[in-house]
Assembly symmetry: C2
Homo-oligomer: 331 residues x 2
């Protein structure tokens, strides 16, 4: 069967809490989907057997023949050696080191498998099926626990000399700022990663006079500081809570500053921002756009669109499957 | 005469104080050279007639026939629309606005002319004849009055969507830092541009107890604060002056931080640093390399070389001529 007959691709999205797998058609539609707890794949061996099992189930559920599947794509959060198909390290999953995942999965499933980091596969999904259609040079950010990044140049993921380009979360915004896990100071991620957004809100609740009383944040959290999440802060902001709005404004300014530097450096056609934190919507995107317009050189900030990622919930699966498709198509 | 017989290219380097022109052979050797004061070309019209004249002189002096010259390259400090051959703005030369220089010079001289900004043509020179040979992905910095930048990807200048990529001088290192001319705060250039290096030294001379007395800087400057230049500070550092060394250490740390961010973002094969300030040598390059090694992710800072530009004094001319050659060769 020629590649033109292989109309489906498998996508696997390894997330911090869930592993999602699905079969994706040529136009990016999800035909079947399954997910399981990331804790079930603490070891690569567990991951292999669980994946084999799941793929069989997906094929059966969707009545798609294995021969119609062109390959499998995997998006992994961490350091991935794409060209050798090796997962060097997984963020938050300590037992994975130098796992030759592409080879192992190819052998275990009979489907040619390609592995890349999650931000890169998400960018490929948006490029082919989402907010990046029609563009050849753009930059993707994923906002979540960490800040992922991918740079698309001439319609392809730009990887750099050793495949490690795109670490947008580790742009320094204040070289005297708080220490980041990467060893530098004042990185973007150190301000807008999930828990730093929450910490910003908690600090404001503790500092402001009467702030605790006036703010709806603690009410929404049932007076449990540990229940505060970016999602909850987005809700509070939507209800007009001053502290929540201020937190999002500051978060947007940090991100907008990073985008302005990226415009000065790379002059992309547009930015695409996805990930859980991006769901905050206009309370986040408004200050991002305003800051970008103010700071980028040559007035480029005003003509460089900042778009929300379009693939939503299943962006990881669709991106991984689309990534596999582009890998098989280009050889 | 076919292009293979056209063995020479003209290079024009428009600098802040001097305009340099020369004829360059295929291997990057300068065959003849002339320069004049930048104040002589305040208007584009003056530039055209002065250039015509100079080109005639260079051809005569080198006994090279016009037919053996394949074209002219111009490197201009400012905002250049490369694809249309238009100089939008020249830094420090106010009367130039939207000058269609490529067309005008082509008509005036009968030699096909290409225009780009000075950092880009310098990068092409280093790519073909200098420290970039053998590399396809690298980043160039020119340190002088401003901080210029050029990004080489897949052996070509990366220009971005509107030809404005590469503004490395306007990477933000401290979003709360001092205001930069570009409108942002705490840009790299705001710390390591010529006059900010000097201002750093002057501040230290004024602040430190007895610093003025112990330092050799003012002696070298004949006790004239206005005579302090980066070149003089390099001399003082070479003589072991503590303040000068500290200024260079800090300057190197700023640049090294920017390079670490660039490694995280673009993972280049190497960096090439040129321009007058780079002549400070190891007092500058040592802290650059040390900071890069400390801050870049995945230990990439330790394996990404930071090289001095090789083309020296005439880098601008050789770069511009080489740039013209690559433009005619690729059509």
């Amino acid at each position: 069967m020629g590649p033109s007959r292989r109309r489906y691709y498998l996508g696997i999205d390894i997330g911090a809490t869930w592993v999602k797998m699905g079969i994706v058609g040529h136009r990016g539609f999800l035909r079947a989907k399954e997910e399981f707890d990331t804790r079930e794949i603490r070891s690569p061996r567990q991951f292999l057997s669980r994946t084999q099992e799941t793929i069989e189930g997906l094929l059966k559920a969707s009545s798609i023949e294995r021969a119609a599947v062109g390959g499998t794509g995997v998006g992994a959060p961490g350091w991935v050696d794409y060209s050798n198909g090796i997962v060097r390290e997984l963020t938050n999953i300590p037992k994975w080191h130098d796992v030759p995942l592409a080879d192992q999965l190819t052998r275990a499933t009979g489907l040619q498998t390609f592995v890349d980091n999650d931000a890169n596969v998400m960018a490929v999904g948006e490029l082919i099926h989402g907010a990046g259609r029609g563009h050849v040079n753009f930059i993707c950010l994923t906002l979540g626990t960490g800040v992922g990044g991918a740079i698309i140049i001439n319609g392809k993921i730009y990887r750099g000399a050793r495949g490690l380009a795109g670490e947008i979360g580790h742009m320094v915004l204040d070289h005297n700022g708080p220490r980041c896990a990467c060893g530098a100071n004042g990185c973007l991620e150190r301000y807008v990663g999930n828990r730093f957004i929450v910490a910003n809100a908690v600090r404001r609740l503790e500092e402001g006079r009467g702030a605790r009383r006036r703010s709806t944040i603690l009410k929404l959290a049932n007076h449990d500081v540990n229940a505060i999440t970016p999602k909850l802060l987005a809700e509070a902001a939507a209800q007009g809570d001053a502290i929540a709005r201020e937190v999002w404004r500051e978060t947007g300014q940090y991100i907008g500053t990073a985008l302005a530097v990226l415009v000065n450096l790379l002059n992309p056609e547009c930015f695409i921002i996805g990930g859980g934190v991006a769901k905050a919507g206009h309370v986040l995107f408004d200050p991002i756009r305003k800051t970008l317009a103010r700071l980028a050189m040559n007035k480029l900030g005003r003509v460089t669109p900042v778009r929300e990622a379009q693939l939503g919930e299943d962006a990881g699966i669709v991106g991984a499957a689309t990534f596999a498709r582009t890998c098989t198509e280009t050889g």
